[in-house]
Symmetry: C2
Subunit: 483 residues, 2 copies
């Protein structure tokens, strides 16, 4: 989902009344970022509070390449990483993930081995259908075991776009919240649905209801579901005791536009890029009785802050034995404070850009390669900024491209290198970058090796279902990451 997909953020169809209402009742963040323009690293960053280059969710197979966890990936979230649910357990929380995990699908990476108590969802994207010979269909888990596979037991009709998965995930969320009512235990629900990701789907009741086509139908279903969850919290009388945060894991995938791609509003390009369209996210904090209604914040925020903020809400300290990139947003959310902090835009192993205040400096620019672009893969359709949306990896480390995101949110007009403004700002940003680079200890890269043998051939529970498949011989090789 993209920044521009919310009515409150200017989507011209205004089809998100529940999210707009959530913003009106809570705080809308206009300058909130993901840690990576791709799903797996972004979600790993959210749950660890650390940049992917620290927690291992990146590749060194080539320079500045996006990587994620397809089902032939060998790696996943390292045991050495401390995940938010692991830490929340210390404060007595029961933790559930509903939806896409995406932090590795091999047994050692299972979410219930990393702090979650319950899981309903899948380890990978709902790509497919596969033939179960060259590639198995993606399993859907309930807790430790698979209970079926996408396209087989969990239908997705690619022709009509119909699938009731978001409804299943919604019901699961409402049931989980209900179940906690008798208990004194606080809960953490990570509602990590994968709807709006291509291939886009929506339930029958939403199909054809949007001005925006199938993608809009999916957005409307998500919006409706979030409305139902919030109302449910209110009806149970626990809304004033429940902190809710809405955001997205990367910008809308313009490569899928217009039938399956969303909107990044006035921002440049989309998913896969370190331009604003790839990393600035819609974000809303909601906590009636605590967060003043109708708040709008220009705090530079990041999904990693949800780690630290959640710990703070639970009365816990973040780990002190490692670098945590997320900050505690509670002073921002509850007292309207502004905390000075930079935003780093990474693509794989490279810091592509940094934002400080209203200025953003690009140290590297790259959309994708000429070769990929020539094949029709375009992350910036209709947009082309000379020297900015480049198709060769352009290094600007000695003379970064500088943009003022207030006057120029679309990153279309680089500041003149000769201007006084450029000189002044660069001095400040150079200091931030130097400090960041000097203290950075990259983690062991997890997304380098792929192997067909590790695919979801025989997930736990497959025997009961008669759904075990024969794995091919192991043949590990470097994953190919073209972007």
């Amino acid at each position: 989902m993209g920044w521009g997909d919310l009515g409150a953020l200017g989507e011209p169809s205004k089809e998100t009344p529940n999210l707009d209402q959530m913003a009106a009742e809570g705080m809308l963040f206009l300058d909130f970022y993901t840690a990576n323009p791709l799903c797996s690293p972004s979600r790993a960053a959210l749950l660890t509070g650390r940049l992917p280059v620290r927690n291992g969710f990146y590749t060194t197979n080539a320079h500045a390449r996006n990587a994620y966890t397809p089902q032939d990936i060998v790696g996943g979230i390292p045991d050495s990483e401390l995940l938010l649910p692991e830490l929340l357990k210390k404060a007595g929380y029961i933790n559930k993930i509903i939806g896409k995990w995406h932090l590795g699908h091999r047994p050692q990476f299972h979410p219930l081995r990393h702090g979650f108590d319950e899981w309903f969802g899948s380890p990978n994207c709902h790509f497919g259908p596969y033939d179960n010979r060259e590639k198995p269909n993606i399993p859907v888990y309930r807790n430790w075991e698979m209970i079926g596979r996408y396209y087989e037991d969990f239908k997705i009709d690619l022709k009509t776009g119909e699938a009731n998965l978001t409804q299943l995930y919604l019901q699961e969320a409402l049931d989980f919240i209900n179940k906690q009512q008798g208990s004194q235990q606080p809960f953490f629900l990570y509602w990590a649905i994968d709807a709006t990701h291509a291939p886009v789907y929506a339930s029958k009741q939403f199909l054809g209801t949007s001005q925006r086509g199938l993608y809009g139908d999916a957005v409307r279903e998500i919006d409706d579901s979030i409305g139902k969850i919030l109302r449910h919290l209110q009806q149970l009388g626990i809304s004033e005791n429940t902190f809710v945060f809405f955001t997205s894991d990367n910008g809308a995938a313009l490569i899928s536009a217009p039938t399956q791609g969303g909107s990044n509003g006035p921002f440049l390009c989309g998913k896969q890029t370190t331009f604003e369209g790839g990393m600035r996210e819609p974000a809303i904090a909601w906590w009636p009785g605590h967060i003043p209604a109708g708040g709008v914040s220009h705090q530079l925020g990041n999904v990693m802050d949800l780690f630290t903020t959640s710990l703070s809400l639970a009365g816990l300290q973040p780990p002190s034995d490692r670098q945590i990139d997320g900050i505690d947003l509670l002073p921002v959310i509850l007292q309207g404070k502004l905390i000075d902090r930079p935003i780093f835009y990474y693509r794989g192993n490279e810091m592509m850009a940094v934002r400080a205040g209203l200025y953003k400096a690009h140290y590297w620019t790259w959309s994708n390669s000429w070769e990929e672009y020539g094949k029709g893969t375009d992350f910036c359709p209709g947009q082309s900024v000379s020297g900015v949306t480049t198709h060769t990896q352009e290094e600007h480390t000695h003379l970064p491209l500088l943009f003022h995101l207030g006057r120029d949110p679309g990153e279309k007009f680089p500041l003149s290198f000769a201007s006084e403004e450029y000189q002044q700002v660069l001095g400040r940003i150079a200091g931030i970058v130097q400090q960041h680079k000097e203290t950075l200890v990259p983690g062991q890269p997890q997304l380098n090796v792929c192997d067909k043998a590790v695919m979801n051939w025989s997930p736990p529970g497959c025997q009961k279902l008669g759904k075990c498949l024969k794995a091919p011989e192991s043949d590990p090789k470097k994953c190919s990451w073209p972007h």
Copy 2:
């Protein structure tokens, strides 16, 4: 001002709290258009309820050229046109224009000869400063006579961007509203300020207050002024008896970006073009106690509708002796109805595009000429859609380019000519276009002839001020309209 300049429409700095509040208390139109992507024709259309090609505000000097009323223009609003204030007089209204008239500056075109009772403002844009030899500075009128000139008596500091004009126009509005309090006469106030037009200015108290630079300062001052006008109506107890409508005369001028140009949100290109960025406008109707708060309308609206709607509010019928393009929006505004009607996108003497429902068909595409583009004039900076944002005038009359503005508000993905959708939609739109063209009677073009002798050398009142200048000999020639 552009569609994307309002916080409520997704401007990332959210600096228009008063306009956003106006929308929250009234009805926000998401699909509202101007009649032309340039100021003079747009304002002529608003006041006549007719397309510029009918009321004469266009040129035939060349094909599909934008034209307006610089001070060497010979033409202006024809006497044969009936303007909104002329008609409102029949219902006893007192009519005032504050700000830029732009419908011709020669004596016969004076707003007080076309239905207005009072005027405070200027006949042309605040371009300058001029030397008063080659070109005179633009006069500012109070009613029949000039009371000074821009840059001389009405200061605009191009270095700092400081000018207090919007404050003068605000005070004039508040005073006019006050004055009507003793009277039983209804009033029509056309608050036609020219702020945000380049050269952009703002008052001292707003300079440097926006994240968006000088342009944002100007937007904030407009927003603040509108808030003050609305609150004034409420304090006087007449808000439930006063219909207020906010809109803009064309999309943001991206040619002036980033320091002096605004935002057209997710839409393509800007002012001067017939893409959505040039003609879709922010629009809010406000009438407490009558318009349900928080309404959002997808009605295809047009500035020309303000003519017909205003007449309807005054209990008047539109003229029946001529084609009126504006429709009465009251059923939309008060009862939430949707009226099926097309939008025509004209550039000069050519219908470039037409919108019906969510579909838009381009019959001609043109950004500007290669020659102008080569000189650095770019109406679509950072945006380039192959075959769409063309630099030669491309005719598509036999096979129009078709866009679905719901799935693709940015006009980036033309529908395949071979698709069933294309065939079905084109049939419907072709009928609309045929009917339009068959019944169209173009008016006498007013924007063909320019003459240095007609400039504002000696406007009425100049003698008293000692500000009469000597006009050069008459030398009428075809105006040059490069765009």
